[in-house]
Amino acid sequence: MYHPRTDVTHRYRYVPTDFVKHLLTTTAIIAILTMVLSAVFREPVRPALKIDAYATAHPRAFMTVALGDLDGTGKIANYGPPYNNGTGYVQDFVQRWVGVIHPVFPKQDFILTPLHEASHLDPALNGPLKLFDSASATQQAQWESAMGLALSNARVVSGHVLLPPGAYGPVAPLLQGLLKLGQSGLMTGALDRSPADYQFDNQNSLLFLQGKPLHDAATKLELKGNQWGIIHEEDAPYPGPWWMTIVTAIYQIPFIANASAADALALGFGMLLFIILMVAPWIPGINRLPRFLGVHRIIWAEYYRQHQSSSDSSKDAG
């Protein structure tokens, strides 16, 4: 509540201060503190997951991810706006309304285009590519389905995926070729090539990795959403972005966690709470709450003590 007589600063005694010294002191404190913390504790870092390392360590999983991009069952292939016209991950009308502003078509962009580029170095890919490109969609789907079955029964021997016999046509040599490209270290460049040739955007290489590869690595580090991952640092026990604790907590509410529009709900709800904080001075009840909570007695303890003793002494004098 505003007390016009007591909220006016000129009614109070002023004490001399040197604000230049004050600001220089606080800045020096933070500068020294951060320099010492960085020297002693360094900072958290865990090397990025690279496509070549993943393709070498998990060749069968790599080919499974690639098959999902080729046959359209992968998350990004079926995502929807802003990447394509799929419907799999459209949470609300706003997402549809924004439209396809970052077009990504995994079958072409993640698999066939890199293979066409790789065919300049590996001409053995030309035949399977030609066969696949000229086949009907039904035929392609049959090959892909047979390849899925073969992959689930495949064995990995020293970095090579040994497939059981199957009617997978050119899909097997194509995915074997993609595996070689992945293991070579050239695939990130093939995915992130921009028309201008200058590289500032790593969207496609990240989208290629974003399913099983990144999720498996994140699960081990307890970084997933249901593991309170938003506020964890990858390299424990470093502090993470703990200022996101409230949003992370919202993600743990079953009603939100299990909703199909979980992200929209959690972020929307978090924003609503923040707006309440922002407009607290105008909300009846909340704007008077601090006075009744009494924490101000600790904040201004010295002021109250001095005033209490001065008013006591004036009473005594009176």
Partner: protein
Amino acid sequence: MNWTLYVRQKSAVLFSLDTWLPTELPEYATGIMYTLGSLTASSFVVLVISGILMAANGPQWWTISPIGFYLRGIHFWAVQSFFFFMVLHLLRVFFSGAWRGGRERTWLLGTLALLVAIPTAFTGYLMRGDFYSQWNAVQAKDGLNALGFAWFNTLNAGQMYGLHVVVFPVILASIIAVHLAWVRIKGVVPPYPAPDELASEEVSHVSSTD
């Protein structure tokens, strides 16, 4: 009053030495509780200086150079310090009911600074160039896409870099600057009156109206 005169008069107060470097403060606005805001602002200064040094050397530098890595560490701990002192400052301000006496806008701008600080820090996390950057970039995209913020493409390192080193810091610095100016112009909120103070106010009010 014409608008140019209005701008001149407001600017005179906004940019005055008395606003930014006072020589006296109210008696109740001293001590550690009133250092939290300054420590937040000082953390921001350290962030800006370390950030400029890093930006001048380019985004690859801090992932491969020992000096760059050390600076990245200073930047990291300064972010922690910035949020730590900002939240303590927010708590102090909340429990003081600091919006009293026409200071609501100052509170609003302070909370807005916290809100803008979140994407500022987040885009920085995407610039680390490690697994954490990759993971946060792919995880954040779904929520942003769902809320209609697909333009903010967390997977586009070039866009995130520009937002982190220029766009967000400039917005944040402007908000902090006006917030500080308003704190000074309005004066720091006085303590809640003690019960005996209120009682004497009441008595004097009654006797003056008699």
